[in-house]
């Protein structure tokens, strides 16, 4: 009994039977997943497979049609928006702000769930903003206009905002999308260094293999595979989900799974049978 209780305590997020649809057909169907404290969990799948939709149901941009989402053992739907914002930090895809804000003002917005109606910014708020900017190596950009940052700098500012939010569970919705490779690695390294719990929708399979402890694979709104990167990323599975041929090996330097995609043309030339 004691060990079971211990197991529940370490569980940060537990989802059962989550279903949601934008229109007539279910966009995500009967999703079940869990994230334990300290884990880096990846959501993988082709475009339109429902990765973002799952995340949006968790961070409440969408309301589930059915199913249960438990956050730290509490029913999320019964929780106030402010309370869930104190636990969950979100880095989404829409990070353009059509108005003029300084970088430090954007980061300071992470403090708002800590603020009641009449609160003004205190010393701790200012400290957290400075701390977050330093962690992201952005001290020098605090007074720059957010609108004029590059894509990678914007993404770093948004992660600084989540750090300022002081929550230890990050939901990342393809945070490195459209970024140069150096920024992609930088973003994930910075998040990893924070030692927080992470649930991330990811596009790049190699990136997922490098950073994730466990992976869920979504296809057409359903979870069809789950496990460690080693278990999930086999050439057969990759072909089933993405429809491409690949070669999978453990990379000698990283010690992680490394996937090489094989174009159909090359395969035809060598005559190798996949």
């Amino acid at each position: 009994m004691e060990t079971v209780k211990e197991g529940i305590r370490a569980m940060r997020l537990q989802i059962e039977n989550l279903t949601f649809s934008y229109g007539e057909k279910n966009d995500i169907d009967d999703i079940a997943l869990h994230v334990s404290k300290g884990e880096f969990v990846g959501l993988i799948g082709p475009n339109g497979s429902g990765k973002s939709t799952v995340l949006k149901n968790i961070y409440r941009a969408l309301a589930p049609d059915s199913g249960v989402i438990m956050l730290d053992g509490e029913d999320l739907s019964a929780m106030s928006h402010r309370k869930s914002a104190l636990k969950l930090g979100v880095v989404g895809q829409e990070n353009d702000v059509p108005f003029d804000f300084l970088v430090e003002e954007i980061v300071a917005m992470g403090r708002s769930p800590h603020k009641k109606l009449f609160d003004i910014d205190n010393a701790h708020d200012k400290y957290m903003v400075r701390h977050a900017l330093e962690h992201m190596g952005m001290e020098g950009m605090a007074k720059r206009s957010y609108r004029h940052l590059s894509g990678g700098e914007k993404q770093r500012a948004i992660i600084a905002r989540v750090i300022a939010q002081e929550c230890d569970f990050f939901l990342l919705d393809e945070p490195a999308n459209h970024l140069d490779i150096s920024y992609q690695l930088q973003i994930f390294d910075l998040v990893k260094r924070l030692k927080v719990t992470v649930l991330a929708a990811m596009h790049d399979l190699n990136m997922a293999a490098l950073y994730c402890d466990r992976i869920y694979v979504l296809k057409e709104g359903r979870i069809i595979l789950k496990g460690t990167p080693e278990e999930v990323f086999t050439p057969e599975n990759i072909y089933d989900v993405f429809g491409v041929l690949s070669d999978v090996a453990v990379h000698p330097v990283t010690g992680k799974i490394s996937i090489t995609f094989i174009p159909a043309g090359i395969n035809a030339q060598t005559g190798k049978n996949a």
Binding site: A85, E105, M109, P113
Partner: protein, 350 residues
């Protein structure tokens, strides 16, 4: 430095604007076909303050009548209307997340015009006595908002695109109704009054028209100020705002309510004074950035000052004839809007 965007000095900016507002009231009251010097205005005003009645009476009764009876209510109404329009513009722009929105995008002014012309030309609301114009205009504004709001709800939340488009559709419908009413007008005087009012004018200012818009302005301003963090977060987009603890549906409803209350009430006392709610927030943001804690008070004061001086110009340009102030703001505002639009599209191209 005050105009340093990175280190905005709010107390100094607010102090300067308050002094400018006071000076605006003092000078604008004195300007007109019969000029009254600012020191005389000051004395007349001071003599009305209880405890200061001992001020020696060095002015003529005519001056006092002009200042207290005609010009002061008009100037004060200009301050209140200008502040309301600017603040409504700020709220509307946060709601639709676009700095090209103005207080009348949801069709408030068209709705108000329809019922107000009905009242002015056919006397449909004459049973309301001296309040018949503002009340009839407000009824139209409120009807429009309820209609637009109902159309734009999708799955229990406001769909911003539908909100804007149904605003356009309902405006056109209401404009059509107004056109029918004016075309079937039995007398030319009513028609002239109606078109003068529709153009946006402070000429009908009365002391009785002041208190309700002022109270509503203060209440709405208070509501918006305590929600300034939510307004800022709304500019990040619904999803980011929700993820940062904002109850987006609640805040959107609140903004629709606040914005339509202020816009409806403003139209009801002064007709449609266009572009103020667009230009003032824009130039305010250039000065202090996008943070609503700063944008709201600064644009309220700047909006008041702007409308009062434009109204002075409207009184004086063709004196003794008078232009509706809304005509002037439209003539200034149209080109400014196009400039903003071009500036924005240039920015997106980058």
């Amino acid at each position: 430095m005050i105009f340093n965007r990175a280190e905005t000095n709010m107390p100094v900016i607010i102090l300067i604007l308050v002094i400018l507002s006071a000076a605006t009231i003092l000078f604008a009251v004195g300007i007109g076909p019969i000029p009254v010097s600012p020191d005389k205005v000051l004395k007349i005003l001071a003599s009305r303050i209880p405890g200061l009645r001992s001020i020696p009476r060095t002015w003529e009764q005519l001056d006092q009548n002009i200042v207290l009876g005609l010009r002061l209510p008009r100037v004060l109404l200009g301050m209140v209307v200008g502040a309301s329009l600017a603040v409504t513009g700020v709220a509307m722009q946060a709601l639709v997340r676009n700095d090209l929105a103005d207080p009348f995008v949801l069709g408030v002014s068209s709705g108000a015009s329809a019922t107000a012309t009905l009242g002015m030309i056919f006397g449909a609301f004459s049973f309301l006595g001296k309040y018949s114009l503002p009340v009839s205009a407000f009824i139209g504004a409120a009807l429009t908002i309820v209609l637009v709001y109902t159309i734009s709800r999708v799955r229990g939340r406001i769909n911003i695109t539908q909100l804007l488009l149904s605003g356009v559709a309902v405006s056109m419908f209401m404009d059509g109704v107004t056109r029918i009413i004016t075309l079937s007008a039995p007398n030319a005087l009513g028609l002239h009054n109606a078109s003068f009012w529709m153009s946006g004018s402070l000429a009908g200012a009365k002391w009785e028209y002041l208190s309700l818009p002022l109270v509503i302005l203060l209440v709405c301003m208070f509501v918006l100020m305590i929600n300034y963090r939510g307004l800022n977060l709304l500019l990040l987009g619904d999803e980011s705002a929700g993820a940062l603890g904002v109850d987006v549906r609640r805040l959107q409803k609140l903004l629709v309510l606040v914005a339509s209350l202020m816009a409806g009430l403003t139209v009801s006392v002064s007709g449609t004074i266009g572009f103020v709610g667009l230009m003032v927030p824009h130039f305010t943001r250039l000065l202090v950035g996008g943070d609503h804690r700063k944008v709201l008070p600064v644009s309220a004061l700047a909006g008041g000052i702007f409308v009062v001086w434009t109204d002075v110009a409207a009184r004086m340009l063709l004196a003794p004839e008078e232009l509706p102030v809304g005509v002037l703001t439209a003539i200034i505002g149209g080109p400014v809007f196009i400039w903003m639009l071009k500036r924005n599209s240039g920015r997106w191209r980058q």
